[in-house]
């Protein structure tokens, strides 16, 4: 796979997937469906009302880890970015978590009595992890994202009511940044518990699939946090300052 390749707007959407199939879930998060025919990236994006430049920035960054046009991404509307992040939350909770849980359930079924205790420990660890993930996402969906939408609206109107200024002073994005605990650390721990310490299981293919899934999710979560920390937070901070100056 040629990772130095940069996807462009006039490339065929079908070719994008042929060149890097790991983009399949990423494209799915934009709610884009298959059956593109020979349509270009731009044409498909227009059809689904997705900003093609934002779409390209995301898939290029995902395709090549060294390519992250943070400056460029900052030019996109926060509403677009938040919609993407929100879809990613759903993707984790509705698709990835059940997939991983299924694999763990299979391990529980197939395990020998001797190893059952250990698999149960992993199951328990993962359940707690999912609970934390839910709390983290719910906080973003219910508190942080609505706040960001308000800020962006006020900044576009160039006329911020006092209430917005008050909101900024009471709970600037900085507080969220401080609370932004790392979902990644626990995931790495889970991987290492399996790779380094789980006694051999008799169902090797399931444990292999489980590990592969954990690596994939980890990558997704890393990208997700990167977007939040390096793109969303700095951009919101900038808007907050601008709004506070005008009132």
């Amino acid at each position: 796979m040629n990772t130095s390749l940069v996807f462009t707007t006039n490339m065929r959407m079908a070719d994008v997937i042929h060149r890097d199939y790991s983009l399949i879930p990423v494209i799915g998060r934009f709610r884009i469906e298959y059956g593109f025919g020979n349509k270009t990236v731009k044409e498909v994006c227009d059809e689904y009302k997705v900003n093609p430049w934002f779409f390209l920035a995301i898939i290029n960054a995902y395709h090549n880890r060294d390519y992250f046009p943070a400056d460029q991404v900052k030019n996109f509307s926060l509403a677009d970015i938040i919609t993407y992040l929100s879809n990613t939350h759903q993707y984790f909770l509705e698709i990835k978590v059940p997939e991983i849980q299924n694999l763990i359930n299979k391990l529980l079924e197939e395990s020998t009595v001797g190893n059952l205790k250990n698999i149960k420990l992993l199951d328990d660890f993962f359940s707690k992890y999912v609970e934390e993930m839910k709390i983290h996402f719910a906080h973003e969906e219910e508190v942080v994202f609505p706040y960001i939408r308000e800020i962006e609206k006020a900044s576009i109107k160039m006329d911020a009511p006092q209430s917005v200024a008050k909101m900024i002073l009471a709970q600037p994005i900085e507080t969220y940044e401080r609370q932004h605990d790392n979902l990644e650390i626990k995931l790495t721990d889970l991987k290492n518990l399996i790779i380094k310490f789980l006694p051999p299981v008799n169902c090797r293919h399931i444990i292999q699939n489980l590990l592969m899934e954990l690596f994939r999710v980890e990558r997704d979560i890393n990208d997700h946090s990167y977007m939040e920390e390096k793109v969303v937070v700095p951009k919101v901070k900038q808007l907050e300052q601008e709004i506070l100056k005008t009132v």
Binding site: E109, V113, K117, K186, L193
Partner: protein, 201 residues
Amino acid sequence: MNFPENNIKVIVAASHFLTRLGIKTLLSVIGIQSDYSEVDSLEEIELAVQPGMRSFLVIEQNMIGSPGPLLLEQLVGKCPLCKIMVIGDMVLKNCPCSQFVSNNDNQQQILEKFQDFFFDQENKKQKTTGQNMLSERETEVLKEVARGLSNKEIADKLYISTNTVITHRKNITEKLGVKTVSALTVYALINNLIAPEDAIK
């Protein structure tokens, strides 16, 4: 290759005489000479396997039928020192056996499985799962972390300074590759360093 301990017993449970004879021959090929007995019915197994005695049970799957795993589990419950090898068509779900010989295995595979089974390879693997990665002191600190004690409490309990506890924790994390208290607790439980009821919830 030396047989690990004296005072062990090998029980071969198979319904057919030829099978029993074959297993007996194989045992002498790999150098197992110990207290040996043959049984050809389920009831006899329980009599042959004595609690508290280290024993190796080689059993044919068709002797135990479909409730097999449950029967074997009860047996292991009564005689925890009994190690089981099952010979049959396919691995039964949740079977507590530590080795499985398939009817389709070739000579080489069967030989290797018998050697693994009797020469304790599996047990060795399980015991070394990371435990020797930590020093004795680090293991002590890890146990207290998994019990939910704070750095200060650990320091007081082990008569060391809080800074030393922090250094130990840093080294533990580096060696094991796990950072969070909950993952360290899972590690401690997998390796039986603490009792499940003592673990931090």
